[in-house]
Symmetry: C3
Subunit: 644 residues, 3 copies
């Protein structure tokens, strides 16, 4: 189903009813509201004002619209900051980050928790049982604008407590972190500094522990709210709207506390910050790279353990990228169908009407500021009609390929890239893309989860390998391909005694990574053998008696195998990735379908969807009359659908 | 007339007389002094030392030189900072900006005002009636080195008072700013934060109001000094030496308090920071772009309501750009004549003698540190002789083309560029250049001022359109061409209810801007129709029944007209700008003169000047004997002049 | 001899004996230990723990290994910081740089000095007379990670005292600095601010004085430790391990307090930060530029007045550059032999075994973390064997060419580059390379030291010329070539009254630099005459009656001579440098040997070494049977040696 984000507080009350009617007429079913309205709900501690929200909810409900309520904690009001200025976060330099935008809190502040309990309890008590309220969104975009970390006294004390709980004694902390190095030993937990502002390099173990500590703090903060909501609002889902390509806390862990996941999909804005090539940024400027959304759909489906929403969908140009293009005509519809094809239960556009004032005035909506429908609004209405015509969509089924991921991988690479351009977002999109260009669906699978039923497994990067992850790899029936740096770190962010890939993976693949090289731009190595292509950015010298499937031009092993377990000793460029994908698909007995670069397929149950991201048409591989959507000669930026 | 900046305090007293004699012999008529001498004038509160300045003035006067006195407030002395450290400005991060260079004050400091009153009164009382003193310069280069803004407690309190005066109540402030967005409402003015250091995007309305607040503060500070001076120094002009391409306060407004404007012209230093192409930076490295000074001459002539000086003219290499070239031989003379041709009443070189110590030791002067004449000094002396031969120059008359500008345009683009390269300096120089390459003079006209008498009007960017500006456009007899983003914002920095270009301009041009796109490098659109060419950086989708004069390759309107009012829906590249200029000139009945890229013309009364910025000669379009300056085959870097 | 850095505190005691045995077996003779072990040595003020270090030293000594002891002051322990937090350095923004890495002290802290005296005395008393201890390293890499400067109250007070001692009165300070400029006069030394955080440009005289002040402070701190050590450890050398290409204090001055110099050689890591071209960074990514180490070997041989060690030698990939390549096979051996050829008495690899935890876990060692020998370890063992076979190496003799350098040159260019890319490291490597490519050895000679015995002298940049330097130039028998900017500043960082090159050099070369230009990328001038080639980045207009040997295409003099003294008026590109080198060698009667770009020669006494940095072989110019090392067709990355 489709929906929109709506801010009744931004508009005169007398337009609410018209808005609600037009939402219904446009085919929208669900409206998200309230997630920035704290100052209007509560004007002093415990002084609540619900009249406006009562009326807004009734107005929407009167048109049959269902409601997702956002808790407003991403925007603590001025009076709360005046009462407890220590809620404000402190930046790496020790400066307080000021009131005047949003997310101005450190998540571990006790006073924030106290105020959160009060407002969320009040909201949940008042609206938890409302028949039109179907779900809740906790807060908004945790981590946006570098708000996972904070660097004040309260954060330092919290980290020290967290460390004490984890390690028990300073001696154990010193041992786990290797504090013997450079005389960094502490004798009391109170001596531990936050890992910023040191003179030179910081202990990686400190860095990853502070990341874990903050990730845990967001788990606590989510749970604080979710528990209250669930107590007062039975039967409603609880979720959080995450950001794409954001790895600043463990979404898989939070997902296990959610009824369903949701994420905010802005394909064009995100393109500018992804480390794809300049050529690609131009080519896909008005469509987004064909895998930029798909990868995250599949990711958040995993976060939600099968269930996810798009809680915010880009409806037109946005305001926050360096350049903000107008999507090609058709792209709002295409993105919407793509989300649905990947299993989204709902696509909620951000926002209903473009807000003509304040920070986001250049962010488009389904309506323009003058209340006319925008091109995106018109495309959304078309999808709504198509969805009605198509009836309910089938369940998503398991994809043939599993891409195994763990948040610790992002953290290891963040704190120790070793090569300047070892970017995990780039890495993930390249591995994913290789299969998607061959028409194959991919599931993202959290490391440690069973790999049963998959026909091929890829592990682009997994420095820290847990026992559970090892068990899943060991018992996988499918061929498994590990990228470089797999198993290169212990849980304490150290090199394993037996060298990478560490004792667990060495049980599956008897090899040692003897040396690694990060390769500056301009260096590359050619790989030949069972697969051919190019390695850039990273290569490894490995020692092994395993079967060598491909070698570098130096003769060193590039791809080795032990039964179904494969290890790749370099960062593969697209040419090599294509060969690797074909090799794995061949082993898995899957026939690839050579798609043009601008076309993608995706199955949902027995439905197959095709998406044309390019200006050239593409001939759909079924007959015209089999098509539920689209035409056989699939036009630019058009969508096709057929039953398999 | 010509002059120089002189710092007697830097040199032994026994060279002053020789310096004065040589100034006179070089043909200089006017000398600016004293604007950094506070520490020598006043050594403790109210303890003044005038002997040295008395003697300096007498020595200059004895040679018949006229004097412009600078008030020394750009360099508060150490003892004043010791007494009142709160005078020092605080930077965006909360750090105090230290004593030890210049402009180390926040302009709203009451103690600064107190000390300013004392020193300016003392100076004005002592020298106001001196017969050789012909004018005053208040302070020096307001805003240089990011000194308009300051971020301390005194600045915050001042902003809060300013807001209270403007909005009256917090409710009205909340409404005007749209503080409902993200729960940013305040209940007291004391709760308003300065717009820096917030977690993420800041309300644009806050940003532009803080800019206006600081601009106003500089008006107050200028007026404080000007009032004192005028009380004690009747008949002398009061000015301020502004910087080129600086938009950090409203120079038009300050200009209305001045007797004449003045600005500091450093063509080569400025080239490196202007966003022209790398190719242009190389091509014009030793001359400056041919319009880099002309545009600012015309601009400050508007600031001075017809009257302006060059208060500092680059005399050779400078010290402050990333690279500092030696001007081509002839350029000091060319720049001087160009200023005069654009109407300058005086050109004052900075500085008389290169100072061999402290911060600016690599900044050349008319004399080298060893007191020999520099190449620039020799060229200045040549101009002095030519000026004498030519007699007094005629009055400047109105140019055929008006370029309408308002400082609010710079501020809107600064706080909401929406596209990363929407640079106003680049924009202005491109539009200006298009007409200048066709031999046409251009006046800069403040938005809201009458456009009577102009034959064509261009408005490169004007997001906020005042009633007065609208009235001038409505009553203009000439064709008017608006660039994109015209009328795109209300005075409160919001999108107009009726969409851009807003109700006022929509009265002249019935159109709505439905969507805008900022285009990353690598994207472009071709325009065809009455004009042809390329749009980059920005395009708009507009809805209108107006006449479509040109379209994008997509078919969307690119240039539309309603009678004499034209609207352009994209950022024009030089090819398109040339066509637009030709179109407007044709409508205006003006014949363009196709100049080579390196030649410019400029009329002053009945005199026509030609300037050759290139290494190739150019044939002047009059006969040899008509020439008052130069030769028919105008040499590289040479100047010609003839009567029209 | 060869050695390694070893950290017994990182490893279980039961592996120490094995490590020691394997060190001996690998041919190592000397082991550096203890320089980060303060927290283990002293756990509270005066509470020492020597058992572990006693045992470590005995274990090494038992295998006949000699020991260099590092004082541990680069890593003050947590308890010391807790007792005296004011030891921590403050950064330019006023933020305290935290405990948690290393070098977290300001060198002028009295409490640091107190604690340093205690720990160094205790170490020196305990181990000073140990027969296996042959030398001491004071602290570790002074200045690493921007730790020469600090910006706190203690630093400001120290600078003020330093100034008082230097200038006596504020009046003299004001005069020397030219504080009259911009009213910067002070009336008490307590008013002087540190030169950071000012509103705009800072007085260059202040900047260079603060640099001198900090350099002096490191002299004091080195002397504090060296005096204690010498009192308790007679007959042992005292040194400090300096960094390559680091000019943040006066190493020549410190060198005069040392028994021998030492430096840390990381050819690959350093490549990425040197401003050579992108093409060169790729070409030499796995070898380093052929002169990158040689220049510094020669430099530190000068620092050590003929004696130097490599105290840390890169043994494989490192962890701290943007990209970290694996050296080509053979390079560890090549670098080692190259150091020895340049006169190193010992090459000590950093580190014995790669440390799998904490900050430097990706820094390789002679052993891998699993205690297998790394490729670098195997190459080191080969060199050890070769060294044994070759017997003791002859003394280094004077090179034919002297390159004169002074640290003040680096400081002048740092504070007043005038052109953005006037990088001294680039400059030095280019001038040095020109001679090295012609097979000629070069000595670095501190300005002011006698130039007797040299056949040619080059002075790439020397803005401040001392009396002693002048005397050496005046009495040099050899031709001397000065690069631009020679003599361009007085000791107070001002332009000389008589213009550059100042009165002293003008006595040797009657010329005046009338104008200088820094040239942006894209500008160049061709030089023709006795030498031909290209000038970029910088050119000067000089006035002189000296003999003009070459001119710019403008006709201006580019190279002039007065007898044996030559002055070059621009930054020479490699083509011009080659001609200049050939000209000087011709005058000196030295026959150049045209080497390929990837080959270098170096003589040590009567031994000649050849180094092949490239993938192509090179034919050695002696017969096969003359070779002590290598083969006539010298293989890629191989070393040859023969007797001359
Ligand atoms: Zn509180
Ligand atoms: Zn005060
Ligand atoms: Zn203390």
């Amino acid at each position: 189903m489709l929906g929109a984000c709506y801010y009744p507080e931004h508009w005169p009350e007398d337009v609410w009813a018209t808005d609600a009617r037009r939402m219904r007429e446009a085919g929208l079913k669900v409206i998200r509201i309230a997630e920035f309205g704290w100052a209007r709900m509560e004007t002093a501690p415990g002084i609540f004002h619900w009249d406006w929200l009562d009326k807004a909810i009734e107005t929407l409900a009167a048109e049959g619209l269902e409601i997702v309520l956002g808790t407003p904690t991403a925007a603590p009001p001025r009076w709360l900051i005046d009462l407890h200025p220590e809620i404000l976060p402190v930046d790496r330099d020790g400066n307080v980050r000021k009131f005047g935008s949003r997310r101005h809190y450190t998540v571990v502040s006790p006073k924030l928790h106290e105020a959160t309990r009060r407002i969320v309890t009040a909201m949940a008590e008042r609206y938890g049982a409302h028949p039109s309220v179907i779900g809740w969104q906790v807060d908004n975009e945790f981590g946006c604008d570098d708000t996972v970390f904070a660097w004040g006294d309260v954060d330092r004390a919290h980290f020290q407590s967290w460390l004490k709980a984890k390690y028990g004694t300073p001696e154990e902390l010193n041992r786990a972190w290797g504090n013997e190095f450079w005389s960094m030993q502490v004798t009391r937990f109170e001596e531990v500094e936050l890992p910023a502002g040191q003179v030179c390099a910081i202990n990686r173990a400190t860095q990853i522990d502070y990341m874990r500590c903050r990730s845990d703090a967001f788990m606590d903060y989510f749970k604080l709210q979710a528990d209250i909501i669930r107590a007062h609002s039975p039967g409603r889902f609880v979720t959080h709207n995450a950001m794409g390509y954001s790895h600043t806390f463990d979404h898989f862990e939070m997902g296990r506390m959610m009824d369903l996941a949701s994420w905010d999909s802005y394909p064009l804005g995100r393109m500018e910050s992804l480390l794809v090539s300049e050529e690609e940024r131009i080519r896909w400027a008005r469509t987004g790279h064909p895998d930029i959304s798909g990868l995250q759909h599949d990711h958040y489906r995993a976060v939600g353990q099968g269930r996810f929403w798009i809680m915010e969908q880009q409806p037109g140009p946005v305001n926050w990228a360096k350049w903000n293009a107008i999507p090609e005509a058709g792209m709002i519809r295409l993105w919407t169908w793509e989300a649905l094809a990947h299993g989204a239960e709902a696509v909620v556009y951000f926002r209903w009407r473009q807000c003509p004032f304040a920070q986001e005035q250049m962010h488009s909506g389904l309506l323009r500021p003058d209340s006319e429908m925008s091109p995106g609004g018109r495309e959304a209405a078309i999808v709504a009609g198509e969805l009605d015509a198509l009836g309910s969509l089938p369940e998503t089924t398991k994809a043939p390929v599993a891409l195994v991921f763990d948040y610790s991988a992002a953290w290891v690479l963040q704190f120790e890239p070793q090569g300047h351009d070892y970017d995990i977002r780039m890495l993930l999109i390249r591995w994913y893309e290789a299969f998607r260009k061959l028409g194959v669906d991919v599931d993202i699978v959290p490391a440690g989860q069973s790999l049963d039923g998959y026909k091929a497994v890829i592990v682009p990067v997994l420095p820290i390998v847990s026992e559970a992850a090892h068990a899943a790899f060991a018992t996988a029936a499918a061929p498994v391909l590990f990228g470089p740096r797999a198993g290169s770190k212990t849980g304490n962010f150290a090199i394993p005694d037996s060298l990478p890939p560490g004792p667990l993976l060495q049980g599956l693949m008897p090899l040692k990574v003897a040396e690694v090289e990060s390769m500056r731009p301009g260096l590359e190595e050619k790989v030949t053998g069972v697969v051919q292509g190019t390695v850039r950015r990273w290569r490894e010298n490995i020692e092994t008696d395993m079967q060598v499937l491909a070698r570098f031009s130096t003769g060193a092993p590039a791809l080795v195998a032990n039964g179904s377990h494969h290890y790749l000793a370099g960062w593969p460029e697209p040419d090599l990735l294509e060969d690797l994908a074909r090799m794995l698909l061949a082993k898995a007995g899957i026939s690839p379908l050579d798609l043009p670069e601008h076309v993608r397929l995706r199955r949902r149950g027995n439905l197959v969807f095709a998406f044309n991201y390019g200006p050239q048409s593409w001939t759909v591989p079924v007959s015209e009359d089999a098509l539920l959507l689209g035409t056989r000669e699939l036009a630019a930026y058009d969508v096709a659908c057929w039953r398999e």
